[in-house]
């Protein structure tokens, strides 16, 4: 059936500026640009342009301009252009609309309605340029109380047995992005940056490439329902083992890496044949209850000899507080919650845009519930799904998080333009692709440096804010909601967040 969906973008090439170097035709991963011998110019197929803007960035003469296509439909606030386009596409194909990255709908962003306190006359602020500021934190179960023994020499010794914890020098980790969804070079950049900055990256559910076993102290290995690349050696090759139940962009939905992305290396890492769909449905078929979850948590602890914290990752959904209480009681050392703005390599649009809740509310509700039940110390809370800047990190920690995870922000640091076409595998920036000529565009050394710079910049900013708050450690900020005020939020939302309105 011929498509009647009009192109979203229009590619304009200034012929006077264009040197006919043809670089843009190579740079476009989506095949939207081609050189015409006949007319001696670059011809653009607007229908293939996704506004990844690689050509614009790489054109040596700055001769390319991408614009939104001129009026394609009569304006309507109800049946918007996007809604009409989606109906046309579905009328043509009968398929589920697939999309990538996080939800881009204009739901309120609560981070932007939170303001942070500062010390002035009554309490002095601290100058972070001169005073030490502690950003170090530990993930894992903390004991209910500490007991000590005094030995015959009068030495005091800790009697309480401590559960395994993992050290973070910055309270920011890289969220799960599997090899297959992102390229080898992306994972390598993340691992190198995690190692350089004393933090963690998460393999996602695609296994761990053999080359990366050397980064083991900085890796969270995931065990998802499809169990791709999961074996005893893999489980022991990480600092943390994570059971992936849900993901913010697609709660209740599993992973589905299409066969065309399963090349030889991805197949080797996932341990499946080349070209087969990698299906990883939402339910783990050995988990149908909290008791079953507990069983898998302890199976993983047995397999790693109780030496590593076990994390359980869920999407932020209604009743998340009770869900997380169950997860902690099932024995998880870390609970990872991903809000509805969390990214994805591919998800049905209807799920991404309509299912789940914001991480701000989920985090506040979970932290509150675990405190009320007296079990907050039994697990660390890691949250993600829409963390865009250091201010979001600070606000998340003040709402009760031990650490945050960043996915999209990390990819943006690597060059991603959020064109939201990861699902096609044509990423012109060499991020969400397995095509060798595209993958080679991201130099892992450069990528790691950019990520390191980002973490370093955010760390300095967090230290500045801590100083302004008059506190000198990130641990003193955790759950410190008195330091937050809401602006433009209704009473119920303030109640769930556990904060006062600005002015009080």
């Amino acid at each position: 059936m011929p498509s009647t969906v009009p192109p979203e973008f229009s590619v304009n090439i200034d012929e006077k500026k264009c040197a006919r170097c043809k670089k843009c035709t190579i740079e476009c991963g989506f095949g939207a640009l081609a050189y015409s011998n006949e007319f001696d110019c670059i011809l653009a197929d607007d229908s293939k342009c996704v506004a990844c803007l690689r050509c614009v960035a790489m054109c040596p003469r700055r001769a390319i301009r991408i614009e939104r296509s001129p009026l394609t439909f009569k304006h309507n606030d109800n049946f918007t252009d996007e809604i009409r386009k989606n109906i046309y596409k579905q009328a043509e194909t009968g398929g589920i609309l697939l999309t990538a990255m996080g939800c881009d709908k204009p739901y309120p962003i609560i981070w932007d309605h939170l303001l942070i306190d500062a010390c002035q006359v009554t309490n002095p602020s601290i100058d972070p340029l001169r005073e030490p500021m502690e950003l170090r934190t530990y993930l894992g179960k903390k004991p209910d109380r500490l007991e000590f023994d005094v030995d015959e020499n009068g030495e005091i010794r800790l009697k309480t047995e401590l559960a395994p914890n993992v050290r973070l020098d910055v309270p920011i980790i890289f969220g799960a992005m599997s090899y297959g969804a992102v390229s080898y070079n992306v994972q390598k950049s993340l691992m190198m940056a995690a190692m350089q900055n004393g933090t963690l990256m998460n393999t996602g559910e695609g296994g761990l490439h053999r080359d990366f076993y050397k980064y083991k102290d900085h890796v969270i290995v995931q065990c998802a329902s499809g169990r791709f690349g999961v074996h005893a050696e893999y489980l022991n090759a990480g600092a943390v083992v994570e059971i992936k139940i849900g993901q913010g962009a697609k709660p209740g939905i599993g992973g589905h890496l299409p066969g065309e992305k399963i090349d030889a290396e991805v197949a080797k890492t996932r341990m499946i044949p080349v070209g087969t769909d990698a299906l990883s449905p939402a339910p783990h078929h050995d988990i149908y209850s909290i008791e079953d979850l507990s069983q898998l948590i302890y199976a993983l602890k047995e397999a790693t000899e109780y030496k590593k914290p076990v994390s359980v990752k869920v999407a932020a959904v209604h009743n998340i507080a009770a869900i997380c209480s169950g997860i902690v009681r099932a024995g998880a050392d870390i609970v990872t919650i991903d809000g509805f703005r969390g990214g994805t390599g591919a998800a049905p649009r209807v799920i991404r845009d309509n299912v789940g809740i914001p991480i701000e509310l989920a985090l506040a509700a979970v932290d509150d519930r675990l405190r009320q039940e007296g079990i907050r110390n039994q697990a660390s809370l890691v949250v993600g799904g829409g963390i865009r800047q250091s201010a979001d990190v600070i606000k998340a920690i003040a709402l009760g998080a031990d650490a945050v995870m960043i996915g999209t922000a990390a990819l943006v640091a690597l060059g991603c333009r959020i064109c939201q076409k990861c699902n096609t595998g044509n990423c012109s920036w060499g991020i969400a692709t397995q095509k060798p000529h595209l993958v080679s565009r991201l130099d892992p050394e450069v990528g790691a440096q950019r990520l390191t710079n980002l973490l370093s910049a955010w760390s300095h900013e967090i230290q500045e804010v801590l100083g302004a708050l008059g506190i000198n450690s990130i641990e003193s900020l955790r759950g410190n909601r008195e330091r937050l005020r809401g602006i433009g939020l209704d009473e119920k939302t303030l109640e769930i967040l556990g904060i006062k309105p600005a002015g009080r």
Binding site: K89, T93, G259, M271, P273, Q295, Y298, E302, A303
Partner: protein, 242 residues
């Protein structure tokens, strides 16, 4: 062979003891009075023989990579869960989700099994896992199966499979001794007659089954087998648009 009396032993202590034996290079261990201890063989990477007298708990041989486990008794749920290599032989019946995402090695169950057996089974290069079931299987046999071999012998008589056999199957093969009516099959599955290569695969696995449980090979092989395989390696390839 070392013997351990597992009576009243917590699974954690029992498994720790087994890991110690592995580390000391012990080639075999026999566990007496096993009663519900979970995770025996969990993540063990070794050449070792574990004989279990009693009923082991759930997730026997989960993440296991190498050992051989023989159970003189029934098995419970999750035997061979995400197993990488090795062998499990159960002289009795077994529960649900046997061989979940199993990627190598073999599981032999003398009698019947429960639900979702062989779910997500995978294969990669030389690693081709196999499950041989002497009796009948319940619903969802080979669901989401992506590789490997399941042989279902139906020796206990009566109905041989439950409903939804091979739902979502996109790799691997299920051989059933006897017939399965179409209405018990998932949409992703096609029925066919085994060829010479199939018969040789079945023959080898049935031979091993008979050797473990002392059954008559010729009598089992006399009845014809049915082959169930996936229609496509990409069952949901055209479900999406973007």
């Amino acid at each position: 062979m070392i013997r351990i009396d597992a009576k009243d032993m917590h699974y954690r202590a029992l498994n720790e003891r087994i890991r110690e034996l592995v580390e000391s290079g012990e080639a075999g261990v026999e566990l007496d009075n096993v009663c519900g201890q979970k995770f025996i063989g969990d993540g063990l990477r070794a050449r070792m023989r574990i004989v279990i007298n009693g009923t082991p708990g759930n997730d026997l041989a989960i993440f296991m990579d190498g050992p051989e486990i023989v159970v003189h008794g029934n098995g419970q749920d999750g035997i061979g869960n995400t197993m990488n290599s090795g062998k499990v032989v159960v002289h009795g019946n077994a529960g649900d989700v046997i061989g979940y995402a199993m990627r190598g090695g073999k599981v032999f169950i003398k009698g019947d099994v429960g639900y979702r057996v062989g779910i997500h089974m995978k294969a990669y290069q030389d690693s081709v896992p196999a499950i041989v079931i002497g009796g009948a299987a319940s619903d969802f046999l080979g669901e989401y199966m992506a590789g490997g071999v399941v042989v279902l012998l139906g020796l206990s008589g009566g109905k041989i499979t439950g409903d939804y056999v091979g739902t979502g199957m996109h790799g691997g093969v299920i051989y059933v001794r006897g017939d399965v009516e179409d209405n018990y099959l998932g949409r992703e599955v096609i029925k066919s007659e085994p060829d010479a290569r199939d018969i040789s695969i079945i023959g080898r696995l049935v031979g091993e089954y008979c050797a473990h449980f002392g059954k008559d090979f010729d009598e089992i092989m006399r009845k014809p087998f049915l082959k169930l395989s996936p229609r496509s390696h990409r069952p949901y390839g055209s479900l999406y648009t973007s």
